[in-house]
């Protein structure tokens, strides 16, 4: 099997975020970036599948030079090759522009499966994967918690987690785009051997032209969505402070939770 895994590099959730000077995104200086959590599970699933069925994993990511770290990590974990959509024309795009760039890069090779996380931990649209499936014209499953590739590799059975603890099972034809949730498996640690081998693994950096795209189809120029403003919510708005000693305050809180919020 040849599996493409799309990963995104996102700010570490433990970091302290500040709004950037232009007010349109966070200030990326001084913060640590990591591989998006659900993408780590997608990569692990891909590595496990190729270990069982043979084949290789190619990892894709879009973003500035810092994304190299995420790709090297993925290579250290066992991906064979990486494709970095690093050209500045790709940057700043919405989910559709990003999906378009990824689709072109994925289409330029042969894959049996695309795996990615269900949504990013920063922007959180949860849209890139489904748009990618649409652009490729492939079947698609979202919020996947279980994946088995059928014998022969022509189809796969997926488990999706529904509300109320129910699961939904269905089978889809490959190639397909499957978006997984965190918790699907146990991501491995990069071994020292893997870390050393990763230094010698190839990272391609195609331009839009290499992928048969024109620059204004991708990135900010190709986007239909524009971030107007990023801000922290005003503190205190919507908050209720219960006065009095702990017993009185707790009683008042339970009353509210029971009668107003109706969660008890």
């Amino acid at each position: 099997m040849r599996i493409a895994v799309c990963i995104k590099q996102v700010p570490d959730a433990e970091g302290r975020l500040q709004v950037a000077a232009d007010g349109k995104w966070i200030d990326e200086d001084e913060i640590k970036f990591v591989i998006n959590e659900s993408d780590q599970y997608a990569l692990e699933e891909a590595l496990t599948l190729t270990e069982a069925h043979g084949g290789e994993v190619v990892v894709f990511s879009l973003g500035p030079d810092r994304v190299q770290d995420a790709l090297r990590k993925a290579l250290a974990l066992g991906a064979k090759r990486a494709v970095h959509l690093a050209d500045s024309a790709f940057h700043g795009g919405d989910a559709h522009a990003t999906a378009r760039a990824l689709a072109a890069a994925i289409r330029s090779e042969e894959f049996d499966l695309v795996l990615t996380g269900a949504q990013s931990d920063d922007a959180g649209y949860g849209a890139t994967g489904s748009m990618l499936a649409g652009l490729l014209g492939w079947p698609h499953a979202w919020l996947v918690m279980g994946l088995e590739v059928d014998e022969g590799g022509g189809s796969a059975k997926v488990t999706r987690e529904m509300e109320s603890g129910m699961n939904e099972f269905f089978r889809l034809q490959l190639p397909a785009v499957i978006e997984v949730q965190a918790g699907l498996n146990h991501p491995r640690y990069a071994s020292l051997k893997g870390i050393m081998q990763a230094k010698r693994k190839p990272v391609d950096r195609p331009t839009p032209a290499d992928l048969g795209l024109v620059a204004d189809e991708v990135g900010m120029a190709g986007s239909r969505l524009e971030i107007v403003d990023v801000a922290f919510p005003d503190s205190g708005v919507g908050a209720q402070i219960f006065e009095g000693d702990p017993a009185t305050a707790a009683k008042a809180l339970i009353e509210k939770l029971r009668n107003e919020a109706r969660v008890l």
């Binding site: 990590k73 250290a76 640690y189 990069a190 071994s191 020292l192 051997k193 893997g194 870390i195 050393m196």
Partner: protein, 375 residues
């Protein structure tokens, strides 16, 4: 490498440290297998035995990162396995012996320990009494080893024994002793001041037979091999300490910044932030010393003088830093469960184990040429 190790520590080790401290042991086989699978147990060992064949600067990085484990016992147990009981086996052991014991230890399938100290001889290594006599194709061992880290769980011991009478520096040998051999008896876990998550045992040998090929290198060279093997041990201990001290200082800064007394944070008192700055300076100086000693070791030069200085300084600085920090934590720091109290208990060993401060001073004086002449 740091990131991968850190992830493993934060996921597989730190969440369980409190429970292991309570249990007075950690599951060494389980933890070592995870480290072995990720390739961290044979960093400086040859690839033909599953190692990575890297120089000791990578072992240094590992020792530093293991300092992020939230106790002293677990990193010590790992260090014993990677850098204290295996260097001589790697350097002087036969291919057969390395396949039997080194390769599975690098893979994380076997746990090793080092047997030098005895209840009658610790730092005075030359005075050990355990004896191994040749009998046909075997050695027959009688004696005892004390304060053995990993002793309760280890599968094998790199054991220093007397194989002859005569000059105490030339009558010793290193033998690999499988600890499931008949005649090996492990005592109950020893109750210690600190390092609780590491199990420490006394081990008795009563006519224990080991095959001749379990001898590391040459008979009579054990003392010399062990003295060489001590260099990795001492440098490892110093490197591991640096990170732990950084963390204690950082946690003290965080705590004293939050904690208010007399209308301001504890940290805002000049005596406190100046003192913490002094301590950080000392830690940086130790780090530089460790790095210099490592450079010598990598270059194949004699690192004994600097490694002994690093170990001496680490033991003393550990006490100085943690004692100062616990003062600024006040009553909270004196609580049994506080991280700084654990560092206080665990860190005291550093000036004792692996050669006491006084032994380090003796070695340094020997290199300085200031030891009085013995008659």
């Amino acid at each position: 490498m740091r990131e991968s190790l850190r992830q493993l520590i934060d996921t597989e080790i730190n969440p369980y440290v409190d429970a292991w401290e309570e249990a007075r042991a950690f599951p060494a086989h389980e933890v070592f297998k995870k480290l072995g699978d990720a390739g961290f147990l044979g960093i400086a060992r040859p690839p033909e035995y599953g190692g990575m064949g890297l120089d000791w600067s990578y072992s240094l990085v590992m020792a530093e990162e293991l300092g992020h484990i939230q106790c002293g016992g677990v990193p010590m147990a790992i260090g014993v396995h990677t850098d204290m009981c295996t260097p001589a086996l790697d350097r002087f052991g036969s291919d057969r012996l390395k396949r039997e014991f080194l390769a599975p230890s690098i893979a994380g399938d076997l746990v090793g320990c080092l047997g030098v100290s005895e209840s009658v001889a610790g730092s005075d290594v030359a005075s050990i009494r355990t004896m191994a006599r040749r009998d046909g194709d075997d050695y027959v061992i009688n004696g005892e080893k004390m304060w053995i880290t990993n002793g309760g769980q280890a599968d094998w011991m790199c054991c220093l024994v007397n194989t002859a009478d005569g000059h105490p520096h030339r009558n010793k040998s290193l033998l690999i002793v499988p600890l499931n051999a008949p005649g090996v008896e492990r005592s109950r876990k020893l109750d210690k001041l600190g390092m609780w998550s590491s199990d420490t045992a006394q081990i008795f040998f009563d006519d224990v037979r080991v095959p001749r090929h379990h001898l590391i290198g040459e008979e009579g060279m054990g003392f010399a091999y062990q003295m060489m093997q001590f260099q990795e041990e001492r440098l490892w201990a110093a490197a591991n300490t640096v990170t732990g001290l950084d963390n204690v200082i950082r946690e003290t800064i965080n705590y004293t910044r939050e904690r208010q007394a007399f209308g301001r944070s504890i940290l805002d008192n000049q005596v406190v932030h100046f003192r913490l700055a002094e301590l950080s300076t000392e830690v940086e100086a130790l780090r530089s010393l460790v790095y210099r000693a490592t450079e010598l070791m990598i270059a194949g030069e004699d690192a004994t003088r600097l490694a002994s200085m690093a170990k001496l300084k680490a033991g003393r600085l550990q006490r100085e830093v943690v004692d100062s920090c616990i003062q600024y934590w006040g009553g909270q720091g004196y609580m049994w469960e506080s991280p700084v109290a654990r560092a206080y208990r665990d860190g005291r060993l550093l000036s004792i184990g692996g050669g006491t401060d006084e032994v380090m001073l003796g070695i340094i004086c020997k290199y300085e040429g200031t030891l009085p002449k013995t008659r």
